[in-house]
Amino acid sequence: MTSIVVFTLWCAAISTAIVIPIGLAISWALARLRWPGKSIVETIVALPLVMPPVATGLILLKLFGRRGPFGFLEVVFTWRAVVIAMIAMSTPLFVRSARVALEEVNVRYEHVARTLGASEARVFFAITLPLAFRGIIAGTVLALARAIGEFGATIVVAGNIPGRTTTLSLAIFDRIQLGKDSEAYRLLVISVIIAFVALWINEAIVRRRPNAGP
């Protein structure tokens, strides 16, 4: 049981570590730039939020399956497929939160920073990012929680292979199917504790940080 929890947290952590930079780049491009095809990208990014997770999993299976365009990566039914499913399902949540946070940063601060000689990278890392900190942390916690709880896409693209791709959610489902209710409840309690701790840490970080301004 411990190994399932560790495996799930490990995969969710890797997924979130990948989602943050990718999601920040997408969020920044959506919040600050005008470009052709923006609305299409917005829709694609939001799709996993409204599509059945199993359908998203099927798309991933087609993309990463042996005959798919990314089949050469040979990730299907491995732990890497678990991470890919988590990324696909948690990126939209991160982007929604981070984009709003970035949009709320008054562009006046960025303009002034540029007139003070700051490069675009410095404007982003010294001004925009700290001012959007709360929303980005909230998005990170949401992404992590979504990754930990991921089920539908994972079971399609990674399967439920004990010791290889079984995550917390898959294990709970598995135990219920097998009638091992007490084990299922124990895993449930662990899930609740993880969710509680994640939200508590989020609150603590956000509260410690002074409001980043208008």
Binding site: R108, V112, T115, G117, P214
Partner: protein, 204 residues
């Protein structure tokens, strides 16, 4: 020297079309709200790009020079201090290696900011925040200082004090300034020549 030559920019209700040249140490731009004053400053600072025309600072056309390389200090209207930094970090944000500590200390002394340095931005009064914003722009040794309604939002009793600081910046630090205001009496105290702008065009 600052010159704008047929600088055009479409705005919401009219087109900005501005030409002027000034060599004065302090030049005022007077006009009613919504006449395009702030847009002129943003064009000179490099925040906005003109549709056509030339912006010349010290004999160099700066149209294609990004804001960060223009060496133009900009103090926008309203709150502009970085709220997540202390006063000192705000002031040092634009400091580059070649700027001497002596000059920074001089600016801090002229604007009487030393006692504020460790404070958070949120703990400043309106007048203090204006002085810090001025200092932050000045320590970068700008070749031109742009002031957008520097007295806006300040109580009346504070006006004379901030004006006094602006005069000291003009006379002691000798930084050329372009001062935007909708109040002619305010401008008269600081600038030596004034342009009048209406609906995006210089009319006097």
């Amino acid at each position: 020297m600052l010159a704008l030559d047929r600088v055009r920019l479409p705005l919401a209700h009219f087109e900005l079309d501005v030409s002027f040249e000034t060599k004065a140490r302090a030049t005022g731009i007077f006009g009613p709200s919504g006449s395009g004053k702030t847009s002129i400053l943003e064009l000179i600072a490099g925040i906005r790009r003109p549709e056509s025309g030339r912006i010349v600072i010290d004999d160099v056309v700066v149209n294609d020079v990004p804001a960060r390389k223009r060496a133009v200090g900009y103090v926008p209207q309203g709150e502009s201090l970085f709220p997540h930094m202390t006063v000192e970090r705000n002031i040092r944000f634009g400091v580059r290696d070649h700027q001497t500590e002596n000059f920074i200390q001089r600016v801090v002394q002229v604007l009487e900011i030393a006692p504020l340095m460790r404070r958070g931005v949120g703990a400043l009064s309106g007048g203090e925040a204006k002085r810090v914003a001025l200092a932050r722009a000045l320590v970068t040794s700008p070749r031109l200082l742009l002031l957008d309604e520097p007295l806006a939002g300040l109580d009346r009793p504070l006006h004379a004090r901030v004006i006094d600081f602006l005069i000291r910046v003009r006379d002691e630090l000798r930084v050329p300034m372009l001062y935007v205001s909708h109040d002619p009496a305010e401008l008269q105290q600081v600038v030596s020549e004034t342009m009048v702008i209406e609906r995006g065009t210089v009319v006097g």
